[in-house]
Point group: C2
Chain length 453, copies 2
């Protein structure tokens, strides 16, 4: 590093006493400049690599950077609001913190997730606030206030335990996990805050505490929801929709490039696509969470309010079933060298045809899903695929005729090829299953009829 | 429902005017009792079903109920603490809310997750508190206070945007996602709270606000961590450890029952085990999150502080690779009827042997992982599996001799069987890969040597 060509500003420590800042220059630097020292410092290297990665992530999907700005906008708006004194006083003064906190915890990447959190937060705060207020009033009315702390303590214990446990129930977890947390939180806060001050009439105190918290939380949640929905919105529904339709395409890519590689006709670009199926294997969790959030979103664009988001999860599952099989197919690729050239050539055409027909069906499915229009070509594409399966089966049937002698050795050499073909046919039949699920989806979601061209 | 035998208390509305509470009785009830009306009410049915489900979830894993009680205990402890006036006043009075809030949001099911959230919360609050305090002091010193709101607003905007964006970077997301949120939160809160009161000297005000928040948060987090770690602790590490070792067993079950079903020797119990591999397919997300949390846990039981938790994720991936292949194998099971009985019987013994040898290797792996002891039988089990592969290959080689005529028809009938056997051999080779990963794990985690028996 020390004696390479350096062009730029550098700071050279010449005699350990003075720090010289040199003019831009192009030279063979002999001395160890500060730049060079920094360049080999492991910490600097790590920081640089980290920044590079962050930059790549931002460039890869600029909406992530926009999300950062959206959160910053919401935060600045809410605190500006509280900087303005008259507004501040009218909106519960000391409780400004709740609004700021609401913005930070409620604002999520997609509009659906923000709506889920915001509405859960508002609902749970209202419910828990009312319940806690009622319990406090009842506790207050017990003779001599002796049982007051006991009633409140026991109620807090029971509610915490029951609500925490309920978060393990799948239905509750999917829709109200966050709401449950806020419910316990609000209940605990109202009880503790109320105990704070006994001079004021308890009911008035309660109303003040509950009301301030509720109004600031509603205010913060609404701000988040508005910014999230109207400033460059990222809809969970659209994300899910695009993910599924791109995943269908990815399966088609992998299948096509795997088969063409097996019959050695593939190029560099096709090799890259070979691994595309892996994204389908790993997208289960994001499909499920996005379909949960999408249900909170209003009607927008081409999606109606009651769009069947659950169907995407079902399509995703049928795609993964294809992907499992493609994974096995790809792993069989090494076996191609064992198969004699002549035999491989015999089935090559029909295998390539089946793979291209299957991929056509997948691509047609992807277009159908992404345009939400019933395809006019789907039936013929499926028929083509079935014909291709039939032709391949015929080719396999005529395989034995091709072998000069029926020696065991020759038969054994065919096994890898036969397995490959069986898997290919299995994948085609699983694609048939995807077609059925997409048809069901088209019916439930009332896809448009395609115009005749 | 209306005329069944009822034994118990029931409330019968006799004449729509008076409500009679009847004594316990055993009779053929003719009138539509309230119980009966309730029993057919759809809402009651739904509530009943929900409660039944909740009960089943609790009975299935009682630790979930215990978790509810642990949260309730922490909540009750923290609020009792604040009910006691002298303690309350010494611990930041009004800020009791922070402690309650900390308990609700930090307490998670596993000790690791609680530690992750608690330590992130403490660290982020400290950092953001100090940063916000410094910015406030600098802003205060600007001449004429004119730029004060500008400096604070801009700093809030920039920090919110940068920190929010940084949550998309995988390394940050895995370890400090929650910390990032708390960082923005604290920064915003200190800025807003500080603006609150201009009468007190700003620095003193700052110290009060920051100090109160930090001390209550440390107090709340520590309480959570202590309860989580010392009252019936659920360690993320132990959960992960058990999940992986049970997943290995599940693969063995599925493989064995699939092969025995193919050669029609299976019973009811084995049919149940057939689907066990599905849990392996779906446990990626939980493996990854648990290995993240396990890294926050201290040394306990048999796990040292630097236990290689990441290796479990690697073993999990190699298990999933087997599971993909088993999924394909299971789907080929319907094809067994196409294969002639005589040919099936010819390979039956060696197929069953390979499946039982493979399962033995898997079960040995499971014991190795769960006991963290190097197995003395592993080498011989792997050798047995290799021998079984060899024997099966020999049987397949002698298949052609078995066929009376080498008609195309007969050869075609063998294809499903040949595919099945190829997949079986592929699974065995993938199990070999699992063995390698577990060996690497044994080396990194310094497994004990087994005592000679």
């Amino acid at each position: 590093m020390a004696s390479k060509t350096v062009f730029g500003w550098s700071i050279a420590i010449a005699d350990n006493k003075s720090l010289q800042i040199l003019e831009p220059h192009k030279h063979e630097s002999k001395s160890m400049g500060l730049c060079d020292i920094l360049a080999v410092n492991p910490l600097v290297i790590r920081v640089k690599r980290f920044l590079k990665k962050a930059w790549d992530i931002g460039v890869d999907d600029p909406r992530r950077m926009i999300h950062g700005f959206k959160v910053a906008l919401a935060m600045t708006l809410i605190s500006t609001f509280y900087y303005i004194k008259p507004l501040y006083d009218s909106f519960g003064g000391n409780n400004a913190v709740w609004a700021v906190m609401t913005v930070v915890v409620v604002f999520e990447y997609t509009a659906g997730a923000t709506l889920y959190k915001g509405l859960n937060r508002i609902g749970a705060t209202l419910l828990a606030g009312c319940l806690a207020a009622s319990v406090c009033v009842v506790a207050k009315k017990t003779p001599g206030h002796r049982f007051e702390p006991v009633i409140m303590g026991v109620s807090l214990f029971v509610i915490s335990a029951v609500v925490t446990f309920s978060r393990f129930i799948p239905e509750v977890k999917a829709r109200h996990d966050y709401g449950c947390m806020i419910f316990i939180l609000t209940y605990g806060l109202v009880l503790v805050s109320w105990y704070d001050d006994h001079d004021v009439h308890p009911v008035i105190q309660l109303i003040i505490v509950t009301n301030e918290r509720i109004s600031t939380i509603i205010f913060g949640s609404c701000l988040c929801i508005i910014v999230s929905m109207f400033v460059f919105p990222v809809w969970a529904g659209t994300e899910l929709h695009n993910l599924i339709s791109s995943n269908i395409n990815k399966l088609a890519n992998s299948l096509e490039s795997c088969v063409s590689e097996y019959f050695s006709e593939s190029d560099e670009e096709s090799k890259k696509k070979l691994e595309d199926y892996k994204r389908v294997l790993n997208s289960k969790a994001s499909e499920e969470s996005m379909s949960t959030f999408a249900r909170w979103e209003p009607a927008y664009g081409k999606f109606s309010f009651r769009h069947p988001w659950k169907m995407y999860v079902k399509i995703g599952a049928s795609l993964r079933s294809c992907a499992y099989c493609i994974e096995t197919l790809v792993s069989r690729m090494d076996s191609k060298t064992q198969v004699p050239e002549t035999i491989r050539n015999h089935v090559s055409t029909s295998c390539l045809r089946l793979s291209s027909c299957s991929s056509d069906v997948l691509r047609e499915l992807s277009t159908t899903v992404s345009s939400m229009t019933q395809s006019t070509q789907m039936d013929s594409a499926v028929k083509e695929m079935e014909k291709a399966i039939h032709a391949l089966r015929n080719d396999v049937e005529s395989l034995p005729d091709l072998m000069q002698s029926h020696t065991n050795d020759e038969l054994l050499k065919v096994i890898p090829l036969v397995t490959f073909i069986s898997l290919l046919i299995e994948i085609a039949s699983r694609i048939g299953n995807v077609v059925k699920v997409v048809e069901e989806f088209a019916e439930v979601a009332k896809f448009k009829q395609a115009k005749d061209e």
